[in-house]
Symmetry: C2
Subunit: 180 residues, 2 copies
């Protein structure tokens, strides 16, 4: 399979580094090499959170994204951070209510009520898992059921049902978006 | 403060990425910028696990270590991975029983019974936290008590006591090693 570059981005506290870590672990379980990187800013700044994955069939030691195949954006603050990494082949999955101005240079933009749906399920904090489900459904990165299983193994047991529901909701809203 | 580069390394399942994440989050809480990177290998290969931190007072977008100030090595398999990144100023904290041949090019080597102590405390899986405590004690990266507080906030509640004990044991064995 070809190399892929994926970014999860939003604001601090949205759990996007966890989403990236779950995807990385699931891909490693499928025999792939993944380099992951993230930046932590001083907490006092609030602001941007992002985690990147570079996925390959060979060892990858360079974890910096150069051209994203897919990017999840859950907060407006994260849009500018990906400028220069997007192109005609980039799929951007953006939060419908938090991202009023999606990136202009992504070839495909899918706007989904990620956070709103998470809140409906019971907790805005599972927006990261809703987004993960949507990403799995909209791309060929990994089999969604494989990813779901790994996700359930990595989240705390008492939040397992909540996260399962979040993941399935993400897949479902992505399927509906596809058919528009 | 000057920029610092830190690596946690060992074999898969030793929880070293969590150690790095805890340190990164604690440093961000102290107003510093941290870039973190790690590589996931196909699970079937077992083998190396490592996570690097580049710590700065300014934004750091390049998360790759070039010269380590400190490296934690909990498994022999990880020694070769840091070749070329060590020098006279590098502090290497190595597991006494798992690392029979410490790196030759680290200026300072402190060999500690990290995993053995974790096992005594009740679970070899907290070796990562024992190592974190030792690292905090042996370096000026961060105030050990600040790091301890962040660690306790990030580990699951039911493992809090175990991890507190592990962290304190790491600090204690580091203090004893220093006085030799």
């Amino acid at each position: 399979m070809k190399d892929m570059q994926i970014r999860f981005s939003g604001s601090g506290g949205q759990g996007l580094i966890l989403s990236a870590r779950i995807l990385a672990a699931a891909l490693a379980g499928e025999g792939r090499f993944v380099a992951q990187s993230q930046a932590y800013e001083p907490t006092s700044r609030g602001g941007l959170s992002r985690s990147d994955l570079v996925i390959s069939d060979r060892e990858v030691e360079y974890p910096l994204a150069t051209r994203l195949d897919a990017v999840v954006i859950l907060d407006q603050v994260a849009v500018a951070a990906s400028a220069g990494l997007l192109g005609p082949e980039t799929l951007a999955i953006v939060d419908e209510s938090n991202v009023k101005e999606p990136p202009k240079d992504a070839g495909h933009i899918v706007s989904l009520p990620v956070t709103a749906r998470a809140r409906e399920i019971g907790n805005a904090r599972v927006a990261n898992i809703v987004a993960l489900g949507a990403l799995a459904e909209l791309t060929e990165i990994i089999d969604p059921d494989t990813l779901r299983g790994k996700m359930l193994a990595l989240v705390p047991e008492r939040f397992r049902d909540l996260n399962a529901e979040a993941f399935d909701a993400g897949r479902e809203m992505a399927r509906e978006a596809e058919t528009v």
